[in-house]
Every structure is written in structure tokens, then in C-alpha cells.
Subunit: 339 residues, 2 copies
DNA sequence: CTGAAAGCGCTTACAG
DNA sequence: CTGAAAGCGCTTACAG
């Protein structure tokens, strides 16, 4: 039963009394083989504990049955949600997933990709650089890629976007629809593109509603809770006419909530509040926090399907699709009070 | 420059005017090759954009330069932290990581492992079942494995344990050392082994301190925040002499904190509080929440090192090491008041 | 220090 | 429907 080395296709062929070609066909579900032969082969394989060698398959057939996911950083909820959703689909299709991070420069990225490329049949890549799609097609010509971005501004350069901008716009429109005309925005970290796109979404909505810039207040933040706390403190020192706040993330919104609760400002009675990210605590806090949910799961699933399409067509599509995964607004208590 | 197909070792050999054996040696950093030859080969390889085929290497050399990580579920902070820490080390050593989840039964697990085994040089596996180590060695004899568990009770069956029990004990001892003798514990989800081990750690500490069982109160919980809220509400209806609470996780601790703040119970003045998990919000909330931190990063790094050792020794070690990664207590405001 | 050659375990035209 | 055989791109004794 127990082998000293892994059994090969030859062992199976011998036991099943067929040629190795037939064994190979059985494991590749070729329609050519008789049902009876299939059974023989499968029995022999089971008896020997045979599993085809991925290396040999890869070498001769060119299929790895593995896809790669390369992300800026293998960390946090975004990473975890993305892998989770892709893996669930990949498993059904018999694909394994190899993950890689990427440090800094495009050159290092390409070194990673080159090394990875002989292990995978396709790649899901999140990286932000104009013209990257074209460069990848040029430098890794044989490998289908789905390019991902969290930034609408790169829409034309990638295949799939998880849209911060529209999320922020949705949240702001919601606050406006509740009657608010004097709205503050707590910005995210300086230089962070998520933060930038969220602010742009905010301004786009207020502008579209005809709200004058003097009615809005942009507050500095760092995405950390304490900066939300400090931001509202400063806001209220400066002016007290603001009736709604859109925060660039939930952590800062919670910090802001904290300050207001400590200082007798009622939410949503005096000030309505909306965050971004829809972290677990948004539902847990009192008042529960309205927030924008980025559907990372859908993002991952769509990316995987796009990749499978490319692999199936055996065509490395060079037409960026620029598809967008829409964010969703979660209305909760913190913005439930109409003006 | 741009090839219609990937360049091979033959192309490099031709351009560098050496044999393919030499090219191979260069890429395997064989000490035999002249510096001058190395340079020629590397130049040719660069010029052609050559990267060795992982499949061919795997087939003929038996090294995949890939390790597998198989976890119960590819989800949440634990997963993300573990991958992050392993990946950082693996990248330095030139290893890629393939991840897989596992559904239910041991048979499905072994199917997953068998399929994976030809793609990897070693495996980090988290799975809870007595005798699993032996079964793996029997059924996947050629592949080094590091078995992980979050449960000390399986210590003898695995290589590395992330210790819930001691974490809970630490937290409880801390509360006792602050002078508390009447302590409640909010339990985690019924049937969950993490929850069970945390409760056992709690009871172990109170017993060791000679605290009578009548002085302690075990409250039902589900790990969700609301259940912590409900648990203290019930506790205070029942008795008001409890001066400290150890919660099986932070979410419930935060729920409990919530109830107490709403009902005029001062933390830590009237009741000290300690949670488990050290989630981000533990530091953000007021009062900040004391908690137990499971060093997942160290867990992952240690697992990887153990695996590398096994791979290097080329010996599939069958002696479970039963090493334990100690949890750390984070003392914060919620338990800062001595009795 | 370098090369010729066998072999790793498959897939896939090509014959039959 | 099945088999014999070439070939995928490497590594590694074995010679020299």
C-alpha cells in the first residue's frame, strides 16, 4: 500500500493493463475512452494512491491549474476578503492560488511576475501605474492578466475597479437628501489615493447639489480614530453650524462620534454622520454608524471570472474593460434624522 | 527582444556559447562555474529575458520553491496575519506560497493535500484531529509538514500551538493581582474550542488563587458584541458584588463596557475589565480595553522556520515538537484600578 | 571547470 | 477507442 516513492502514470498503466496514454486520457476526462476502461484505470489509480504530477503536467501540457494573486500588501481585511472570495470560486474549478506581495518598484514587480509566470495559468494583479497593462502584455506575453484598481482615475488602464469615488458620492448624496446643506468632511491620510478619491466624491456631490463651498468644511485626518476625534473638536471650535459629517473611514467617524458624545452633541439629532468601509463595529456602536460598503467579495469574484474567460479563450485580451464594482450605502442610525 | 515563446535554457546556452548544463549550474548557483562563464550566461539570460521553468525544475529536480498553507478557513484577521508573516519570510528565501482552505471531512482534506503535494516542497497545516500527524506522514510520506493548532489540548499531536489557555490564565491572574476576588467570565460561543480553552484558563487561574467557585460567575456569550451587553445586564440583575470581568473576546467586552457605561457602572472604578484578541478597537475605546494578544505573526514565522528546517534536513520529522507560542497581556485603562 | 546524455512524468499528435 | 513515441525544459551523475 505504502510506496517508497509516489506512483506514476506508468504504475497505473501496468496495474490497469492499458497504456500510459490511456491513463492520461482518463485523468484528463477525454471523451474517447470507454466507460469500462475508465473504471479500470480509476480503480488502479485509487489502489495505488496515484495523483498526477503537477510539474509533469505543467511541463508537457502547459497547464498549471494555479492562478496567481499579486497585491500591494498581503494584509488586512481587503486582502483577506479578496482571497476568500477568489479561492471559493477557484476551488470549484480545480485551481489553486498562489499569493505574492510586491515591494516598491515596477522592476521588482516584473521580477516577481516573471518568476511566478511559469507556475500559473493566469494572474490577478493590483497595481497602480499608467500603461501597466500594456507593459505587462509586452513583458509577460503568455500570461492572461486581470488588472485591478481601487481608483476610478485609473479606470482606463485596468480591467476592474472598486469604486471609492462613487461610494463617497453616495454617502454625501444621502446626507444631502436628509436635508443637510452644511456638511463637513474628515479627510483620510494625506497623499493616500483612497482618501483623495473619497474627498473628490464628496465634493462632486456637494457641488452637484449646488452647495456653496463656504457651507462645507474639509478637515484633516489620518484614517486613525484619534484624528477623527481631533477633527471634530477643531471643527466645533471653528463653527457650529455644520449639521452633517462624512468621514473618509469608519475609524475616524467613530472617533468623531466619541468626541460628540463626550461634548453633548447628539448624533444624529444635532449632527448626522456617515463613515466609509463598513467595518464590523459600525453596526455595533450606538448610534450605529451609516457607512459605505465596498463589495470586495464581488470584486474578487468578478476578477476571477474575467480571468477564467481569458484563459478559456486562450487569448490574452488587451482591451481593458474598465468595469466598475459599485459600492453600497448602509444606512444606519447615525444618519437617520432628517433635517 | 520580444519572443514568440518563452526562451529556454537552450537559447541561453546558444547565445552564451556554453552547454545547457552550464546554464543550469549558473542558475543553481553551483560553485563549480568560473566567474567569467557565470557572467556570460547571466548576460545572455538577461538579453533573452530568460527565467527557468518552474515545471521543468520541479520535474527533474524535485524542488518546487513553493510551500502550501492550508487553513480551516481563509478568512479574517487570523488568516491574514498568518499569511502576511509567513509570506515575508518565504519571499526572502525565494519561496512562493499557495493557499488552500479545507472543507469538512478528513477525506476531503487528504484529497486537497494529495493534489497540492506535487506543487509544494512543504506544508503548513492547521487542522484539529488526534493522530492527524501520523496519518499525514503515512499518506503523504514525501512532504514535510508543520502542524498547527490553536488548542493546547492537541499539543502532543501538533508541532506548534498558539495558546488560548495561557492567554486566558494570564488575563485572569492579572485581574486577581489587582485585588479582585469576585470575578465573572463571559464565555465564548458554545461548542467553540477557543471559547472552551479560554474558560479553562480562567478557571485554572481562579482555582489556583483559591477563589471559591461561589465567587465566580460564568456568563453565556456568543463572541458577538450584543451577547456581552446582555451578559452583564443579566449579571447585574443577579448580583452586584462582582468587581472584575474577563471576557472571552474583545467584541463582547466592548458590549459589556457599553452596558456598564449606559447604566452608571464605572470601568475600571467599579468593575475592571479584560478582553481577548486585542483587536484594533481595544486601544481606541475609552476606557481603553485590556486584552490578550495572540502573537499570530510569531506563530507564522515559527511555523515557517520549522518547515524550512525539515526541508533542509530532507527528513520528514515525525517527532511532534509541541512548541507553544505564548500570548501576551496588554494592560490598559479598563483594568488599571487596584482594589 | 565543462559537456553529453539520461531521465523526471506527463500530453498529444499520429497511426492503426 | 487505444497505443507507441516524441517532446516539454530542466537537473545531475558520469566522463573528461
Amino acid at each position: 500500500m505504502k510506496q517508497d516513492k509516489e506512483p506514476t502514470i506508468y504504475d497505473v498503466a501496468r496495474v490497469a493493463e492499458v497504456s500510459i496514454a490511456t491513463v492520461s486520457r482518463v485523468f484528463n476526462k477525454s471523451p474517447l475512452v470507454t466507460e469500462k476502461t475508465v473504471k479500470h484505470v480509476l480503480d488502479a489509480a485509487r489502489k495505488l494512491g496515484f495523483t498526477p504530477s503537477a510539474s509533469a503536467r505543467g511541463l508537457s501540457g502547459g497547464k498549471q491549474e494555479t492562478i496567481g494573486i499579486v497585491l500591494p500588501i498581503l494584509y488586512g481585511n481587503f486582502f483577506s476578503d479578496l482571497i476568500y472570495s477568489v479561492q471559493a470560486l477557484a476551488e470549484d474549478r480545480g485551481y489553486d492560488i498562489v499569493v505574492a506581495g510586491q515591494k516598491g518598484s515596477p522592476d521588482e514587480l516584473f521580477a516577481t511576475l516573471k518568476k511566478l509566470s511559469s507556475k500559473i495559468d493566469g494572474l490577478i494583479l493590483m497595481y497602480h501605474k499608467e500603461g501597466l497593462k500594456e507593459e505587462i502584455i509586452r513583458r509577460c506575453p503568455r500570461i492572461p492578466v486581470v488588472l485591478l484598481s481601487r481608483f476610478v482615475r485609473y479606470r482606463e488602464h485596468v480591467d476592474l475597479v472598486l469604486d471609492n469615488f462613487t461610494g463617497a458620492k453616495l454617502a454625501t448624496e444621502h446626507l444631502i437628501s436628509m436635508g443637510h446643506r452644511k456638511i463637513a468632511h474628515i479627510k483620510g491620510e494625506e497623499g493616500n489615493i483612497d482618501a483623495l478619491e473619497r474627498m473628490e466624491g464628496f465634493l462632486n456631490a456637494t457641488d452637484a447639489a449646488g452647495i456653496p463651498r463656504s457651507n462645507i468644511e474639509l478637515l484633516s485626518g489620518t484614517f486613525r480614530q484619534i484624528s477623527g476625534y481631533n477633527a471634530v473638536e477643531e471643527l466645533f471650535r471653528k463653527r457650529r453650524d455644520i449639521t452633517a459629517i462624512f468621514s473618509s473611514n469608519d475609524a475616524m467617524a467613530l472617533g468623531a462620534l466619541n468626541w460628540m458624545q463626550q461634548n453633548g452633541v447628539n448624533v444624529p439629532g444635532d449632527v448626522a454622520m456617515c463613515g466609509f468601509d463598513d467595518i464590523e463595529f459600525a453596526q455595533m456602536v450606538r448610534p450605529s454608524l451609516s457607512s459605505v460598503y465596498l463589495n470586495t467579495q464581488k470584486f474578487g469574484e468578478t476578477a476571477f471570472r474575467m480571468l477564467m474567460d481569458q484563459i478559456a479563450e486562450k487569448s490574452v485580451s488587451d482591451i481593458p474593460k474598465g468595469m466598475v464594482i459599485a459600492p453600497e450605502l448602509k444606512r444606519r442610525e447615525s444618519s437617520s434624522h432628517a433635517r
